[in-house]
């Protein structure tokens, strides 16, 4: 049994408590307050102990001693409060059948107590000075070397009391580096709970100014900050909430050019953005750089949550939606939103991040959680990895971040593997490769037209305005250009095939038996 005592230690009583007919040996250790420490004359000293944690860790040490040595019982008492020279600061007693086990276990216990317990010592010197001495860095079982100040430990004490957190868990949180992209409706609560939970390095990527209509769903800010830079106001608020963490501002818009650099210093990214372009940029960048991404999006009374982890079973956002959707699904500003909806989902994102760091169970990385506030219906939908996914599939097309994949192209790009055969057959397939290319990599087994790119001048002579076209080239770059031109000229049903010729040939191979049309080339 491990005890913290405010009064002087009654060692005789403790020794009696340990007495046992089987014991052939008793070993004890006493630590006393001495007169001189580090050359300074000491008048008195004071121990401050983080009780809940010390008792838990102390009992764990005694349990370890019992497991590792052949002993019958062990007890330890540590003082707290003010002590005079000569007072007993700590007492350890061990009983065993044999002396060697008792002595070894006793040494193990006192060493571990000195090393691992959250105890601070204030020395009062004879010259009138005094100073706090951290007995040792608090190390817990993990032996990592982070120091927590006493107020810091008090700050986190209620969450550290959870067996799933403890000192080790709190250190993991302190070591964690989390980037929150977007400090709006989702980012507000996410940042508050991540900061309060003790995330050691917290990044905020936000470039907007606070507007009056933000406040109803962004309680991170206050009325007097309207017009100010959001990221700055956020840091000021978060630093008053938790002064023990490190907050970094990235006061810039996330783009294809800076996304990877921005993420470098972080392990976990929270997508708290409000637009598809940023969501897809983060999805692709996190897959490519193997970072954990926690995504949330809301719409009126409902929202979606997805966690991407770089692991085999994971599916990504593009497995679900291959292209960046257009904005026909309105954003908060235009669709309207009640503050608690992003608030709830932002908290879920913070929860997933904290659980991830503590290695607790969370949303699987092949699931999408949807929740509706009106009906309180929650669903977890399984979404397996799409082997044809542009990003995480077997033959990925997006192997680096390229600004061209996050603009308007997505509205007219089409991923064939997601197209049912009946839909496919409505289209006219147009190969715009040059004859040389067609000879090198033929497309056979399907009816198609060939309009070499170099000869496409007047589109009206080749294409019919009412026609539905699937245009492809070798890689998908020229077909984008042609389709962009077609669209601008009013050919509204023209699409560019993502992945080019390989994607077409794969589609033909999959549906081979369904094509009854004669081979044309």
């Amino acid at each position: 049994m491990f005890l913290i005592s405010k009064k002087s230690i009654e060692k005789n009583q403790s020794k009696t408590d340990l007495s046992n007919g089987h014991a052939g040996a008793f070993a004890s250790f006493e630590g006393w307050v001495r007169q001189v420490n580090d050359g300074k004359d000491i008048a008195a000293l004071e121990y401050e102990v983080f009780d809940e944690l010390a008792v838990k860790e102390g009992n764990l040490i005694l349990k370890e001693a019992k497991e590792n040595y052949l002993i019958l019982d062990a007890k330890c008492i540590h003082r707290s409060g003010k002590l005079k020279i000569g007072d007993m600061a700590v007492w350890v007693g061990v009983t065993a059948e044999h002396r060697k086990d008792a002595l070894k276990a006793c040494e193990y216990i006192i060493d571990a107590i000195k090393m691992r317990l959250p105890i601070w010592k204030k020395e009062h010197y004879k010259n009138g000075d005094s100073g706090w001495i951290h007995c040792r860095p608090v190390q817990g079982n993990s032996q990592s070397a982070h120091e927590f100040s006493n107020p810091e430990l008090q700050y986190y004490s209620r969450q550290m009391n959870l067996p799933q957190v403890g000192l080790d868990g709190q250190k993991k949180l302190k070591d964690a580096k989390v980037l929150v992209v977007g400090a709006g409706g989702l980012g507000s609560p996410a940042l508050l709970y991540l900061a309060a939970g003790g995330i050691g390095t917290l990044g905020i990527c936000e470039f907007d100014h606070l507007e009056i209509h933000n406040l109803h769903r962004q309680p991170l800010y206050s009325f007097d900050k309207i017009g100010q830079v959001k990221s700055q106001s956020a840091v000021e608020r978060l630093e008053t909430l938790n002064p023990f963490i490190n907050i970094k501002i990235h006061d810039e818009k996330l783009t294809a050019d800076n996304v990877e650099k921005l993420m470098t210093a972080y392990d976990i990214i929270l997508d708290c953005s409000d637009n598809f372009k940023t969501k897809f940029l983060l999805n692709d960048a996190c897959y490519l750089t193997k970072k954990i991404l926690i995504m949330a999006s809301v719409y009126q009374f409902e929202g979606q949550l997805k966690v991407y982890r770089p692991e085999k079973s994971a599916s990504c956002l593009r497995c679900l939606w291959p292209n960046v959707p257009d904005d026909s699904c309105l954003d908060c500003a235009t669709a309207g939103i009640l503050g608690f909806v992003p608030g709830f989902f932002g908290i879920l994102q913070a929860a997933e991040a904290i659980k991830q760091i503590l290695r607790l169970e969370g949303l699987a990385s092949n699931e999408l959680l949807i929740f509706d506030f009106l009906s309180y219906r929650m669903k977890t939908l399984k979404q397996v990895r799409d082997p044809a996914c542009l990003v995480c599939g077997e033959k990925p097309m997006l192997t680096k971040i390229d600004a061209g994949n996050y603009g308007d192209e997505n509205r007219f790009q089409l991923q064939l593997s997601h197209l049912p055969l009946k839909e496919f057959q409505k289209f006219e397939l147009v190969d715009i490769r040059e004859p040389q290319e067609c000879a090198t990599k033929p497309v056979v087994g399907i009816r198609l037209k060939n309009f070499p790119f170099s000869q496409i001048k007047e589109t009206e002579k080749l294409f019919n305005r009412r026609g539905e076209y699937l245009v492809f080239c070798e890689k998908g770059i020229r077909s984008n250009r042609v389709v962009r031109k077609l669209r601008s000229e009013g050919f509204s049903q023209a699409f560019s095939v993502l992945g080019g010729t390989d994607a077409v040939n794969e589609y033909i191979a999959v549906h081979k038996k369904d094509f009854d049309s004669p081979v044309t080339k």
């Binding site: 977007g182 709006g184 409706g185 989702l186 980012g187 997508d271 708290c272 953005s273 409000d274 637009n275 598809f276 969501k279 949330a296 999006s297 809301v298 719409y299 009126q300 409902e302 929202g303 979606q304 679900l320 939606w321 959707p325 257009d326 904005d327 026909s328 699904c329 309105l330 954003d331 908060c332 669709a335 939103i337 992003p342 999408l368 949807i370 509706d372 009106l374 009906s375 219906r377 669903k379 977890t380 939908l381 399984k382 979404q383 397996v384 089409l414 997601h418 197209l419 049912p420 055969l421 009946k422 839909e423």
Partner: protein
Amino acid sequence: MASKTAKTITIRYFALLREESQKTEETFSTKSTTPLELFKELKAHYQFTLPMDSLRIAINDEFKPWNVKLKSGDDIVFIPPVSGG
């Protein structure tokens, strides 16, 4: 073909589809054999504005392609992408 007989399925709507159908969920009797046919049937009925290729479908809590066979008792969710934050 047995699959052409009418079957009863449950459909849940989210986001824009919920607004346009003005329903959170409904039990529906249909002769559609695939989600694709079913969606076309519903699109005609509710005047859904979202194009099919911007939607995904989950059957019995699992995302599925548009051409799988529907069974009586299936629980269908049509999900549009959302981006609000």
